[in-house]
Amino acid sequence: MTDAATLFDLLLAGSVIALAIASLTVRDMFAAIVLFVIFGLLSALAWVRLSAPDVALAEAAIGTGVTGALLLKTLHHLRYVTGKLGEGQARDLTPIATVPAGVIWANAAFCGMITLGLALAFLGAPQAGPGFDSLVAEAMPASGVDHPVTAVLLNFRAYDTLMEVVVLLAAVIAVWQIERGLSDAPAPALGEVWQGFARLTLPAIVVVGTYLLWKGSEAPGGAFQGGAVLAAVGLLLLLSRIYVPRPAHRGLARWAFVLGTGAFAGVALLVSGGGRVAFEYPAQHAYSLILLIEGLVTISIAVTLAALFHGREPVAAPAPEGRNDT
């Protein structure tokens, strides 16, 4: 009855739910973030079990890696601005008005009812679910790539993907725009192990990220996953202050942010004409064009995610914060 796989799945599902509850209820913010990261990793594992390796990679790289780094950075900044940098515990950093228990229970009851209703509706309906599988299989030979997910993302529904890259561009513009000269929290002191760690991991990250991108045409992987992994290089450089963003770098950074969107949209537009519409790649060039788009989008995603981690436009600092220039 209960073979090993089923047992594993049950255990996995139970842990994911338990971790979700734990990260929501724990009072210490640092613990909450760590629990969230573990939750993300186990979710990625769950995606693997659901035969969705592409989603698993994205969940691990973006949902867990980059998001975890962003959360930790925010926590560090919160500790800094509230003057609790040295304290081990990070609770009560933001004043949260206590919500009456009655309101919480009423909300929980409503949400529970809605969830139950959705579950019933979902289970009670005929599960037709043919999806795009047969259509994709039929169109694959003309797509220029061998991996169906990449074919959907970069060819059949490339318009959606272009706009998702635009979402990221909008996010980084909004973040740069919000910067109002808040003083930057000092970088946490990094021990001696750090140098060796960085020396070992940086080349490995570059290789893994590039591999994910390259492999995307025939196997799970691609621009978003590769870009997120490469963004880790940027994170390490920023954390170790090997690289310090300066106002003079802004022009280059702007070009790097828009590179992916611009190239993607440019290719989509330039291939049209002579009877073809936008996004319609000529069959013999489809593979190279898709690889070109993915490569440039990967660069943009990596730089954008690193810039989001940095969290501000590097304007000329009024305060004497630029002491770490190397």
Binding site: G117, L118, L120, A121, F122, G124, A125, P126, Q127, A128, G129, P130, G131, F132, L135, V136, A139, N155, F156, R157, A158, Y159, D160, M163, E164, V166, V167, L169, A170, A171, I173, A174, W176, Q177, I178, R180, G251, R254, W255, F257, V258, T261, G262, A265, A268, L269, S272, G273, G274, R276, V277, A278, F279, E280, Y281
Partner: protein, 481 residues
């Protein structure tokens, strides 16, 4: 290069404009203005094509739906595109003068052009997953514009707006997932064929609640007043006049292809609209600041649009959408004029406390005149487009015998007269002021844009018949029959 499809240009011109405005911050204003102008020309070309052919469809990448994504333009979508381009162009011209801070001047343009890309994408979209992506583009750009002024209140309001907006988008996405599981496709044309079932109703409910949150229908309006009142004037004009209309438009389209399964739901939507009209009206009467009053009036107008949708019940939907569409267009033009004028008044007087408007010795008369003209359309006095919209609403409700919608509309109209009168009294009273009136500061470029918009809001009412016949082109709601 050969002639490019105007459908594609409508999307790509603002996108490339945004990119250029971002990498060339010094030239952002002129690049931006040029891109908006170009988009307007593309929309005009599209309007010609729709007039000639009824509908224009492009299958992107040559892949036919449901696998690929098609862009489609008909009368209604071109009307929305034209409203967006026209209002956008005038707000842009106003922004040239109204934005003084260097940072605001640089960042306004890329964000606004990305917003334009997202909205144009919504009006041309035929695929519900693609619509989800588009509302995410809109959401991030709109949040960026909300916090453009950089004040603490604006950032706080922007954060709340972002939470609401993302929650709405996620609910919509969950609905999209339900639809895909049941139907196996995401294009509008495929949705009609799907058998109604519990899961499809649940999907529709999720998507509709998400959209109502994004368009701020009472009681999901909580994020709107602070966000719209604290943004800088050009951003407020875009947010109130244009952004909330995108989700409204998706709602109108979606209910064509996935009809609301029960009469009760139509009534419920109308009832929420009535709640918005009454609650928003009371809050507008209590508002202490001019921009907050204008923001609450947006809540009221959104409610009114949903009453127009529900005015004649389920059987009347094939006609009611036209009343809703007219009100959407009227509100877009008039509200952007009103926000720009309110921004001008605030700039000239130095504050926007309604109670102290009549104590000021400077009277920005042109901006006040513009505000009053815009109010005429929003209250719904003839011959404005707002009047035609309200009249169409009430005519349909009376014909269907639903007098309660007529009553709510009349009460809402009276309340709007009351709260706008508070402002007019401040404009026109001079007896509470000591000393002489200060010198009139003269005209500014920032006055021209709202004045043009306000005059358009009134004079478009005279063109209501051609507008009505135009939005019917391509029979966007013929799918039901």
């Amino acid at each position: 290069m050969m002639m490019v499809d105007p459908l594609i240009l409508t999307l790509f011109l603002p996108l490339f404009g945004a990119i250029a405005a971002f990498v060339l911050p010094r030239a952002a204003a002129w690049v931006g203005l040029l891109a908006v102008l170009g988009t307007g020309v593309a929309v005009a070309a599209l309007a010609r094509a729709v007039l000639a052919e009824g509908e224009v469809v492009t299958q992107l990448g040559g892949w036919a739906p449901p696998l690929g994504i098609a862009l489609r333009a008909d009368g209604l979508s071109v009307a929305m595109l034209a409203m967006t381009a026209g209002v956008g162009l005038l707000v842009s011209i106003g922004a040239l003068d109204a934005l003084r801070d260097l940072r605001e001047r640089q960042y306004f343009w890329p964000l606004w052009l990305l917003l334009l890309t997202g909205m144009n994408g919504v009006y041309l979209g035929t695929d519900i997953f693609n619509l989800y992506v588009m509302i995410e583009v809109i959401a991030l750009a709109a949040v960026g514009l909300t916090v453009l002024s950089g004040t603490k209140q604006a950032v706080r309001a922007g954060l709340e707006y972002m939470y609401a907006s993302i929650l709405g988008a996620l609910l919509f996405l969950m609905g999209v997932g339900f639809v895909y599981l049941q139907a196996g496709r995401l294009d509008f044309a495929g949705l009609i064929a799907v058998e109604p079932s519990g899961a499809m109703s649940a999907a529709l409910a999720l998507m509709v609640v998400g959209l109502l949150l994004k368009t701020a229908l009472f009681p999901l309006h909580f994020w709107l007043p602070a966000a719209h009142a604290n943004a800088t004037a050009p951003a407020s004009a875009l947010l109130s006049g244009l952004v909330v209309k995108a989700a409204l438009y998706i709602f109108l389209r979606l209910t064509t292809y996935m009809p609301l399964p029960d009469e009760i739901l139509v009534t419920l939507i109308g009832t929420l609209g009535a709640g918005a009209v009454l609650w928003g009206g009371v809050q507008a009467l209590r508002a202490e600041r001019l921009k907050l009053l204008v923001a609450w009036s947006t809540v009221v107008q959104i409610g009114l649009i949903f009453i127009a949708f529900a005015r004649a019940g389920q059987v009347g939907l094939s006609e009611s959408w036209k009343a809703a569409a007219l009100l959407i267009l009227a509100h877009g033009v008039a509200k952007s004029a009103m926000f720009l004028a309110a921004g001008r008044i605030k700039d000239e007087i130095g504050h926007d406390r309604i109670a102290d408007l009549d104590k000021s010795d400077t009277r920005p008369t042109l901006a006040q005149f513009t505000f009053a003209l815009a109010a005429i359309s929003i209250i719904g006095l003839p011959p404005s487009l707002g009047f035609i919209g309200k009249w169409t609403l009430m005519e349909g409700a009376m014909a269907a015998g639903y007098w309660h919608w007529v009553a709510v509309t009349m009460i809402g109209t009276l309340m709007s007269v009351a709260y706008f009168s508070r402002v007019f009294a401040g404009f026109l009273r001079f007896d509470r002021m000591r000393g002489e009136l200060a010198e009139h500061k003269g005209w500014a470029l920032a006055d021209a844009a709202p004045l043009t918009l306000a005059i358009a809001a009134i004079s478009l009412g005279l063109m209501a018949a051609p507008i009505l016949s135009f939005i019917e082109l391509g029979y966007p709601f013929g799918a039901q029959q």
